[in-house]
């Protein structure tokens, strides 16, 4: 056993033999590659790989050396991976992060090392507000924004009574408070369910039936979404009470809905900052090549990851590869001078995007595949509500 | 001292007095209105066929089981609701039919632990117990007494079977009991070992009262002052060895010729 340890230490040492190469930029990308949540992580990895292909593996004069780290869907493991990226692999910058808890655990490791941290998805309110940091950037959104847009949609649709079902964890609560912030009608029922164990909503759906509201708002990311919508249908609620969702129906789950023949999902309304059919050259190229390469539509996780690489590239080019000048590097990132798949994009004072949020609906594309299509902008140039607490 | 054993000749309060003791498991009666007493210094043997409820009786007396009905008076008070540990502190010690020792402890540690249990002060967290002469000394003396002095440092689990039975008695003795409940101390022993055990128990006679459950009739008739015969949880006869030997019911019910021989 002791020999094993020795062998392990030796092997790890070999893997980490320091290579001094100024002509490289080392990027760590932390995401979830094991556990069921790997469905999201894999989509992000596909987008990053595609982005690297599109930029020819180069950012300005620098060759990109990208190292993936698996957080195993666990904040402690995520922090450990981040630590290894910083201290052993000596990366110049860390990006990725799906989960708020992993990001919150890992952020100090990166920021205290004086390096740049870019979140490709997680946007916890702490890091948007009081605990914002000059070296932290977010290329997605803050949790409250999307449901705030949904609240507006509900108002526009004339929904007077709303029933809310969401998981009882941080993101779930953010989604609920976001809707409550903009929704003007009455909330006639609210169930916060055990996460992630509860996958059967029979009891909650019976209550919905008894209350008979104008609309039901849910937030169930990952595998829970299809399960919920299936049960909504089995309970006979589909078509009777409209369902409004955020982060529940995406390109990862839509093929499964289609495979299961759940026609009722078509036409479902949700809000988002992006959709695969947004009309700009960068997005067209991204979606077309992603579909060509992987045979499916990219998810919004993928879109954000793709943007992450192009954001970094723009900054590296602006400072001509001199990434050791951290202040210049940061200033270049702040400009966000790149073509985003979502079109217009700029950073607010807290380094979170100021952007539009759209209503989008589930449609069939010309080949009969189910996808989402963008409708009106619901919130225009919207900045998150925590930005005012940020001293930057 | 010898006259002590013959309870009826001396007016003495019984040390242990059982009245109306009953216990059922589901539909099975394991103890049925049992009455029994043990006088100070007396050896009272309980015999009976397999399944007669002998071990159940010992378990009721030592507190492993709680009776459905009945009283157990020991040293003046009713102990029927007391925990095994509580009874031990009143001076009740037992040996088990299947050897019950601390197999992964040394022989000396086994006895020292029993000494410690009655010394109190179990909540001492820091001083090494193995360095305490207050425990080791008496433990060593008990081991000498039962003839295991030379085995002190052996692992108890590695002792020969007969020696383990001796150790079991030593552990019981180390609690300085007034009454020993012995569950087949000769079980599984060869003739020689049994004889030595009989001799040993005889040497303790008078010093401790004993309630002896035993199949070995030689041992019973060699040691007992009184004998009670148990069948299906009932005491069908009680008396001196001579009376029991002569009792026709007992012969019929239990003491078949070959076994009595």
């Amino acid at each position: 056993m002791i020999k094993w340890i020795a062998a392990g230490v030796a092997a790890a040492a070999l893997l980490a033999s320091p290579v001094l190469a100024a002509e490289k930029i080392k990027i760590g990308f932390v995401t979830t590659l094991t556990t069921p949540a790997a469905a999201i992580g894999n989509d992000m990895r596909k987008a990053v790989d595609l982005a690297l292909e599109h930029i020819g593996g180069m950012m300005g004069p620098l060759e990109v050396d990208l190292i993936y780290g698996d957080d195993e869907f666990n904040p402690q493991k995520g922090k450990q991976r981040t630590e290894r990226l910083i201290k052993q692999d000596n990366v110049d910058l860390v990006a990725g992060y799906i989960w708020s808890n992993v990001l919150l655990a890992s952020a100090p490791t990166v920021l205290e090392a004086g390096k740049i941290l870019i979140s490709s998805n997680a946007g916890p309110s702490q890091l948007a507000g009081k605990r914002c940091n000059k070296n932290f950037f977010n290329v997605s959104w803050q949790n409250d924004q999307t449901p705030m847009a949904m609240g507006e949609v509900l108002n526009r649709r004339g929904v007077k009574t709303l029933y809310i079902i969401a998981p009882n964890y941080a993101a779930g609560k953010n989604m609920v408070s976001g809707v409550e912030r903009t929704f003007k009608g009455e909330i006639v029922g609210k169930d916060m369910t055990t996460w992630p164990t509860q996958k059967d909503w029979a009891a909650e759906l019976s209550k919905v039936k008894a209350v008979n509201p104008d609309g039901v708002f849910i937030f169930y990311p990952g595998g829970h979404g299809p399960a919920f919508i299936k049960q909504y249908q089995q309970a006979g609620l589909e078509g009777r009470i409209p369902l409004y969702t955020v982060f529940t129906i995406d390109s990862i789950s839509l093929p499964r809905f289609q495979q299961a023949g759940m026609e009722g999902v078509l036409g479902t309304s949700m809000t988002q900052f992006w959709a695969p059919d947004m009309d700009n050259p960068q997005n067209k190229r991204f979606v077309a090549d992603f579909r060509a390469k992987y045979g499916s539509y990219p998810s919004f996780y993928a879109a954000q990851s793709y943007d992450t690489i192009f954001l970094i590239k723009s900054a590296v080019e602006a400072i001509n590869g001199n990434i050791d000048d951290i202040d210049a590097f940061r200033a270049a990132l702040e400009k966000a001078d790149f073509d985003s798949v979502r079109g217009k994009f700029r950073f607010g004072n807290n380094h979170f995007p100021i952007q539009n949020f759209y209503e989008r609906v589930v449609v069939k594309d010309s080949d009969g595949n189910w996808t989402t299509s963008v409708r009106d902008a619901v919130l225009v140039d919207h900045q998150d509500i925590y930005a005012k607490d940020c001293a930057l | 001292m010898a006259c002590w054993g013959h309870g009826r000749n001396v007016v003495a309060e019984p040390l242990l007095s059982v009245k109306g003791l009953s216990k059922q498991f589901g539909g099975v009666v394991a103890a049925d209105d049992l009455n029994l007493d043990v006088l100070p210094g007396e050896i009272h043997a309980v015999i009976g066929p397999n399944g007669a409820g002998k071990t159940t009786m010992l378990n009721l007396l030592s507190g492993q089981l709680k009776p459905d009905r009945g009283t157990i008076r020991f040293a003046g008070g009713d102990i029927a609701r007391l925990s095994p540990a509580g009874r031990s502190h009143l001076g009740l010690a037992r040996s088990f039919q299947i050897t019950s020792i601390f197999r992964d402890f040394s022989v000396l540690d086994n006895v020292a632990l029993a000494i410690q249990a009655h010394d109190g002060h179990g909540f001492r967290f820091w001083r090494p117990a193995r360095g305490e002469e207050r425990l080791r000394g008496p433990a060593a003396r008990v081991l000498e007494q039962v003839g295991l002095g030379a085995r002190s440092d052996m692992l108890a689990g590695n002792l020969a079977h007969g020696e383990q039975r001796q150790l079991e008695i030593a552990v019981a003795l180390a609690t300085r009991p007034r009454l020993l409940l012995l569950d087949e101390p000769m079980a599984g022993m060869g003739r020689d070992a049994s004889d030595r055990m009989i001799e040993f128990l005889r040497s303790l006679k008078g010093e401790y009262a004993m309630l002896l459950v035993e199949h070995d009739m030689d041992a019973v008739f060699a040691l007992a002052d009184r004998i009670t015969v148990l069948v299906y949880g009932r005491a069908i006869a009680s008396g001196t060895p001579e009376e029991i030997r002569a009792d026709r019911d007992v012969r019929d019910a239990y003491l078949g010729d070959d076994e009595a021989a």
Partner: protein, 307 residues
């Protein structure tokens, strides 16, 4: 809180209880007879679900999928028994817990490699999809009624198997006295393998039943396994009857907690406090139930006779 709602929630609770029973039955049998703690029992639930999803997709029919998945899960259970579990019977509970914890890790990873991380769903036949109108103005999901029916039939079948057949006699004998079965001259190893396989198939069946409602997913086994363990502990380990009653109680308590706890809490505290406490309490409900049961009856509600 209308009468119809209460009836509906009762049905929901019973349906959850039935699923829990299917899992708990195998667990409690294996524990009662082999004295074996099996954390990997949930893995059979997961494997059964994935088998059913795959076979249903191949055959295009849910029922055919289940018919194929059942023997497949049974086979997996038997292989696991022969390869790993058999050698563990003689060990203590700690070894069981650890080794089967290892099995859980292994199975989760294996399923991820074979089926990918996304999970699988099953499309229900049209007749089962949707809901039906019952008297008293109740509409209820047809498929959930099917789950209740199928589960009750399995419970009945298990009752007959245990109480009316030769293998059942051996099972009962084994549960009350392990050495006795050996004394009857039965090939005890064979009996153990069969029982373990049966337990695996039951767990797998629960997984198959639940997949059209939720979906086949990695890790689905552990989440429900803990609840199933709670069930057998409440019911008294080794008792099928106890497992059945405890499963229904657990299902009902969990469902009723989710349904009515917030209303109840509102009567004793402010709405903000109730909103915070409600979900917390309802997620802890079954653990509180178990702790309470064990506090008053450390051997569970229905400890098997002879123990």
């Amino acid at each position: 809180m209308t009468f119809a709602l209460v009836v509906e929630q009762t049905l929901n609770g019973v349906q959850l209880g039935i699923l829990l029973f299917l899992l708990a039955a195998g667990l409690t049998l294996v524990f009662g007879i082999m004295d074996f703690v099996n954390l990997a029992h949930g893995s059979f639930y997961m494997v059964g679900a994935f088998f059913a999803a795959t076979f249903a997709q191949w055959t295009g029919n849910f029922v055919a999928g289940v018919a194929l998945a059942l023997p497949a899960t049974l086979a997996v259970g038997i292989v696991v028994e022969l390869v790993a579990v058999r050698t563990l019977y003689a060990r203590d509970h700690l070894d069981h817990v650890l080794a089967t914890f290892g099995l859980v890790l292994f199975f989760n990873e294996l399923v991820r490699l074979v089926w990918g991380p996304e999970g699988r769903s099953i499309r229900l036949p049209v007749v089962l999809d949707g809901s039906v109108d019952l008297p008293l103005g109740i509409t209820y999901s047809i498929y959930r009624l099917v789950i209740i029916g199928a589960g009750l039939m399995v419970a009945l079948g298990l009752y007959i198997l245990v109480n009316r057949t030769r293998i059942g006699m051996l099972i009962r004998a084994g549960a009350s006295n392990r050495t006795m079965v050996g004394a009857l001259g039965i090939n005890i190893k064979f009996l153990f393998t069969i029982i373990f396989g049966l337990g695996a198939a039951l767990a797998g069946f629960a997984g198959m039943l639940v997949t059209p409602v939720t979906q086949a997913e990695i890790g689905m086994g552990e989440q429900i396994l803990i609840v199933a363990l709670v069930v057998i502990v409440i019911g008294g380990i080794g008792s099928i009857r106890g497992a059945f009653i405890a499963a229904i109680i657990t299902g009902l308590i969990d469902t009723m907690g989710r349904s009515f706890l917030d209303v109840l809490l509102l009567t004793v505290m402010s709405s903000n406090a109730a909103e915070a406490a409600g979900p917390a309490l309802s997620s802890m409900m079954i653990y509180i139930l178990m702790a309470a049961v064990l506090f008053f009856r450390p051997q569970g509600l229905f400890p098997p006779r002879g123990v």
